[in-house]
Symmetry: C2
Subunit: 99 residues, 2 copies
C-alpha cells in the first residue's frame, strides 16, 4: 500500500522521536529528580546518536543530521540534569540501584 509519499511518514517519525525527549527534560527539571532514568541507557543512546551524526555527515543526509543533533542536545541536557540532582540527593538514598 503506497497511498502517501513514504517521506511524509519519515518526517512525522523523525519529528516525534526527536521532540519526545523535551517532556523528559521538562519533567527532570521540574521534579529535580532523574533517579529512575537509566544512566547506562543515556550513555549508550548518546553514543549511538554521535554515530548517527557521523553517518549523516558522511552520507550528506541533512534531515538525519538535524534530527540527531537535536536529540543529542536534549539527551545531554537530561544526562547533566540527572547528574546534578543525583549529586544533591545522594545523601538521602544510599541503597540506590545503579544501572
Amino acid at each position: 500500500m503506497k497511498f502517501f509519499n513514504p517521506d511524509i511518514f519519515g518526517f512525522i517519525a523523525a519529528a516525534l522521536t526527536t521532540v519526545a525527549f523535551l517532556p523528559q527534560v521538562i519533567k527532570t527539571w521540574l521534579t529535580k529528580r532523574g533517579d529512575d532514568v537509566s544512566m547506562t541507557m543515556l550513555i549508550l543512546f548518546i553514543t549511538g546518536l554521535l554515530f548517527w551524526i557521523i553517518y549523516a555527515v558522511q552520507t550528506n543526509s541533512k534531515p538525519v543530521l538535524i534530527a540527531n543533533i537535536i536529540t543529542f542536545i536534549l539527551n545531554m541536557i537530561i544526562l547533566i540534569l540527572k547528574l546534578i540532582y543525583e549529586d544533591k540527593n545522594s545523601n538521602k538514598k544510599p541503597n540506590q540501584v545503579i544501572i
Copy 2:
C-alpha cells in the same frame, strides 16, 4: 572524510540507539520504579517508532524495520512496567508531577 564505509557507522548507530533501552527495562524492573521516566516522552517516542515502522515497510528498509521493532518492544515494556509500578506506589506519593 570517507575513510570507512558510512554503512558501518549506520549499523553501529542503529545497534546502540536500539540496545540502549535494555538497561532502562532492567533498571525499571529491578527498582520497581519508573516515576522519573516521562510518560509523555514514552507515548511520543512509541508513536514515532510506529511511524518509523510504517516508513520502513513502505521503503522496504529491513535494517530500519528491525531496529525500530526492537526499540518499539523495549519501550512498550518500559511503559507497561512504569504503569504497573506507578499504580502500586500511587498511595505513597500524592503530589507527583505528571508529565
